[in-house]
């Protein structure tokens, strides 16, 4: 039931993204790495949603004739970030302090938590992020299941 709900919510979110950004196009076609845009994913706490500055670094020159890129450029003209909707995150009351870097160091694949983003167009919450998911993985990998490992 909950899964269904979340999936539905995910689909809604995906539909709502301001630009129909395609992960697949960037990863499969342009052969980019996740960290090319989400630069903190392996080394920092936050993976980071790339700034439009980073988009425009390429799209000033590449595929400028596409309508979506045109819309991207319109944001850039106005000096506004693209108002992306968060796909993954924690509610404030969950009091979760998630850090990407240690997970990358433990060689957890991106896909483990984010699904096969490479084949997605607009990212959808392919992997359900609940405490159960986290705890299960932590236990399977004999990582800490101390509450304060995440909640503080």
């Amino acid at each position: 039931m909950l899964l269904l709900l979340l999936a539905a919510a995910g689909a809604l979110m995906a539909a709502d993204q301001p630009l129909s950004f395609s992960h697949a196009a960037h990863i499969e076609k342009a052969r980019m790495q996740c960290t090319d845009c989400h630069s903190g994913a392996k080394t920092r706490d936050n993976a980071g949603i790339p700034s439009i500055r980073r988009c425009m670094a390429c799209h000033q020159f590449i595929a400028t004739d596409r309508p979506e890129i045109g819309r991207l450029a319109a944001y850039w003209e106005k000096q506004r970030e693209v108002p992306w909707l968060r796909v993954y995150g924690f509610s404030k009351d969950a009091a979760v302090q998630f850090r990407h870097a240690p997970h990358a160091r433990a060689e957890i694949e991106c896909a483990r938590c984010h699904g096969d983003v490479a084949s997605m167009t607009v990212a959808v919450p392919a992997v359900v992020h609940t405490m159960g998911t986290c705890v299960q993985c932590h236990r399977d990998n004999s990582a800490s299941d101390d509450c304060v490992a995440c909640h503080f």
Partner: protein
Amino acid sequence: MDRRNFFRVVGTASGGAITGACGRKSEEIIPLLVPEEGITPGVESWHPGVCGECAAGCGILARVMASEREIEVDGERVRQRIAAVKKLEGNPNDPTSGGRLCARGHAGLQALYGPDRLRGPMRRAGPRGEGRFEAVSWESAMQEAAEAIDSAVSEDVERVVFLSRPRADLRAANIAKFLLALGAPPACAVGVRDFAAEMQSAERAYGWRGIPAYAIRDATLVLSIGADFLGGWVSPVLYARQFGHMRRGRPGVRGRLIHAESRFSLTAWNADRWLPVWPGGELALALGLGRALVDLGVSVSPSRAEQTARTAFADVDLDKASAACGIPAATIREVGTELAAASAPVVVAGASIVREHSSDAVAAASALNVLLGRVGVAGGVLPPPSVLADLSEARPSSDGWRERLANANLVMIDGANPAYTSPSSREALENAGTVISLSSFVDDTSAYADVILPDHDPLEREAVALPSASLVESVACSAPFVAALHDSRPADSVLADLAAAVGKPFEPLDARGALARLHASVGAGNEAGASDGFVESALEQGCWQGGPAGGGATGETGLGEFEIADSMVPALFQAYESLQFGAGGGANRPWLQELPDPTSSAMWGLPLEIDPVTASELGVENGDIVRARSDHGSLEAPAYVNPAAIPGVVSMAVGQGHSHFGRYASGRGANPMSLLGDMQDRRTGATAMGPVRVHLERLDKGRALIQFSRQDRDVPPHRV
């Protein structure tokens, strides 16, 4: 009830089946501006800065991380990602703070992000003192200010008064340059506890210019006369660090502390012995001690200075001194004997509570160090730093500010709040020709301003400051590391622009310029480029540190004559600078408002501290509203029956009672300075804080004392 709460209620009622997730509010989408490069969420960086909360000039480190705020751009609400300061700590490189920081220093953050900070320049929109302002553009504000300066300068430049604070920093140097360019007299320091008495005494007793530093860390016996060095006097972090070392930093040696003050201050808390000096009796105590030492035949090095001191003390009548300070003669002799016997004694001479005779009192206490041979030696009193004379020379003095203000046709204010620290000056402010304030907040004095040209916060601007006390030659410095939050401008450049606008331009000194001069003066290498390296390294470190401070005593002492008051006057009132608010400047920081006052445990207000004897005579208990009346004014405040107050002495901390100072401070409590009139140190003109005679009266107005702890006594005592 909002949606979330609705779900809570429903969730509770329906057995908790529906919870949290359903109530999650979808984040409202407000467009985000493209941020500056280099602001990455989740990445911290630490930048050196200089604490601006008091004159100590501590080097600090600011933790900077990405944050978001909402602003309006062209009528549209947008989010902006900015580099925000998250936390302040001491700069470990800095010899003053040593990586540590006091309560006020931490709360500097809440000045930067104070909700009542001015968003831009303001023009007065109501009568003076009312505090009604309208926002104006920088252009028109600057024009208005420039016109006022122009006409004042052309009318009578002598009547241009710049009120500031007694600090030796970049700002002081630029104010001096500005006034020099205008041809106006130098700036005046206006505040409480401006260390004027300390500086004058250093000159009289040791022949030094500036505030001497006491190396108590290496002393075995510290006698403090009037200097609450743990409660905020001169350089609280430096002295607390030294105190820790003195107590437990040396294996097998535990330094002893004797503290003489008219109040059971933080230093008295931590002292092994407290000498409860009658307010105003500090001079008598110092003289009595001198006499006791002379009687003991203490002599270290028969120098001219010591001879002078010996002469000054020789004629003192110990019994008369004892009667004037309330300390038995036997006790004075006992302390004298202890001082004489100690291997490394030092007398910390200061005036935490400035009085009419403070200069004499501090000078006499300083002379004790001369007598003990503790001047310029390890564990004794050390001279002030000698580097960057541009800055130390520019430190404003409090001499004659009242007369000048009363006669002013143009008043400019930066870092001073005379309407609060000397309420009697309000009349002069009301009658002054033009008042220009450089404050970031509408405070008591800015309420009288015609134009407010808001300054950057100290964390937003570059700084170079000489510490008010340091055991070594040192300078704290910083380059700006966060963009200005609001439409403010650093006062240094505002002054330069104003001077230029009236055709008397000057070149403001900037941090790099000041550090280059420092480099030149310490001669740390002359080849081209060395200076740049020195400057960059200093800015990166946040400080520069040299060798031991200054030189020895010049021997040119001019102690002069001392006179002991005849007897003690009863029913006295004294104000004192609070640990948390300083001279009131900290009152708009919620952290400090909610910090329990060390003495009374009061939060969000400060009480009149009454001794138990007087309190029972008046029938007053904690929290009862009491009216205190002096010849100069009256105030109402809740009472705190202070078990450690000297019977017959009422004290009150300075900090509350602001007419204007933002939402956290305005109209809260009473200003003890209003009982003191024009009282000042006779030799320096520094604002004195008592004692005055008061009449106390209990009012039937209920209770209004918020205390963190209502228990003064431990029942049962848990000894740890």
